[in-house]
Subunit: 306 residues, 2 copies
């Protein structure tokens, strides 16, 4: 049995805009998904998580099975697989659990099959899987989960930025949402107001570029300010909601340097940038809004075999 694990991620800037070719900055976090695989002769794929057999409608099942099909197709081979997933990431909360399941499954399969795959190659295959399952996907998701660290994404180019050492707090609403539904709603709005929405997405791109500079300067106050601007732009394209907005304001009021949605929005999580002195206060403010605080930190650890 081979076990591979991969990190979840947060978007510091640029979710949604990245779907339309604008740049984004995503960061791996220290909460991971582990996938253990044992090849079997039956030809069937079975996926377990939390000690239970997953049905074929569950998120994890879809991505893991599509990863299996894709590996079979690309490497012209056939096999059955017993897959066991252990997750530190809530699913459908915008923390990249689907990318982490996908790349850890691909990597573990490759190891089982004796195929050598660099992490970046896993990311590319993973992007095919995500595109097949979701219809449209950013290459960033599987790249970040494969390579770890802080990643600047622009169109099909990805590059690592310096590691980021500042406390973050993730507030999870617990409201599940479908990434593809939210992405489709933005596409509809863009179709209805093409020039306006293109300009707003382009402003998000500008925020990301300015944010990249703030990261280089280690100007965390400026970074937080730009996260808040990004949040407003996300509000304008309709991907925030009451619960997310409350968490954003709770975090800011408690002293967070910045707070915004991370991921597709309309449910899912909020990312707050804290300071060493106010992590507890910001966490408590989020808990007071009936949300779950996930202990997490930025992480440079990508996909790895355990």
């Amino acid at each position: 049995m081979i076990t591979c694990s991969a990190p979840g991620k947060v978007y510091l800037f640029g979710e949604h805009a990245v779907v339309y070719g604008e740049p984004a900055i995503a960061c791996a976090i220290n909460r991971r998904i582990s996938t253990s695989i044992e090849l079997v002769s039956s030809g069937k794929t079975r996926v377990d998580a939390m000690g239970k057999r997953l049905n074929c409608n569950s998120e994890e099942f879809k991505y893991a099975c599509c990863a299996v099909q894709t590996v079979k197709r690309l490497f012209e081979t056939d096999f059955g697989a017993e897959i066991t997933i252990r997750s530190q990431l809530p699913s459908r909360q915008g923390l990249g659990s689907s990318a982490a399941v996908t790349v850890s499954t691909i990597k573990a399969l490759a190891e089982c099959l004796g195929i050598e795959l660099e992490n970046e190659a896993v990311a590319k295959i993973g992007h095919q899987v995500e595109t097949a399952v979701q219809g449209r996907a950013s290459p960033a998701d599987t790249f970040v989960s494969s390579t770890g660290g802080v990643v600047f994404i622009e169109q099909t180019t990805t590059s690592h930025l310096s590691p980021l050492n500042i406390p973050i707090i993730i507030g999870a609403t617990g409201i599940e949402r479908s990434t593809s539904d939210v992405i489709a709603s933005v596409a509809r709005m863009k179709q209805k107001y093409p020039s306006l929405v293109t300009d707003i997405l382009s402003s998000m791109g500008d925020v990301t570029r300015l944010g990249k500079q703030k990261l280089a300067d280690e100007d965390f106050v400026g970074l937080g300010e730009l996260m808040n601007i990004n949040q407003g732009l996300l509000e304008s394209i309709g991907v925030s909601d009451d619960a997310l907005s409350r968490l954003v304001y709770a975090a800011r009021t408690a002293g967070a340097l910045g707070a915004k949605i991370t991921g597709a929005g309309r449910g899912g999580c909020v990312l707050a940038l804290a300071q060493d002195g106010n992590v507890k206060k910001v966490s408590q403010a989020i808990v007071m809004q009936d949300a779950q605080v996930l202990n997490a930190a930025f992480s440079n650890l990508g996909l790895q075999t355990e």
Copy 2:
């Protein structure tokens, strides 16, 4: 004694952006301020409101007194005045109370002095007064309060759009704010991120132009959608806050077609566009957030002598 009254107003689109030359749409409402004036020989100006003598730091006092000084200067005359203000508008809540005090004072003074002034001329003098008190002011505020109706403002040009017959609900946080402080904070942000903030203000201008078309088409669903986009853009320039955001989401959740800040923001009011069937539900949702619901409607009635 001469009494003149003038309406308050809401911004359907474009507050803040209008300060930077982008278009805006403002609408007079049926809540008014009445100013009664009696000229006296003493040479002093005294301002009463709600049966009390106002001190010289109150908003109403500043605008009324500056209106008196401006009229004295423009018409090369001198007089004392006893001014009594009765208001249906909460002050410092972004509903145009300062413009309404200003234009009703100027009009009543002109009547007392036997000077004939068209409402549009009053608006222009009123703009001088607002600029003197605030440092920077939109000509739209005094124009709308003088002429009533639905007004499209672009740079120094103002024109009336068709009357608007759809229920509105105003939710007042009761939090007072200084228009000039909020305007100054946007100016600081624009200085820090010139290209980004210019683009966001320009997107607000696009929302206003699209909104003008929706008004012409009587497409109220589209109008509400654009109000929501405008709200996000206002969030992005940092003029919303927790209390306003809660009212916005409460109204939308209760079925409002759209909801946004009206006026400078950071306190003040939210404007929600309701439908005939859900006025009560939206009002109750706002009250549940500890805000005051102001009964109001769009109005074509401008400045008038009573």
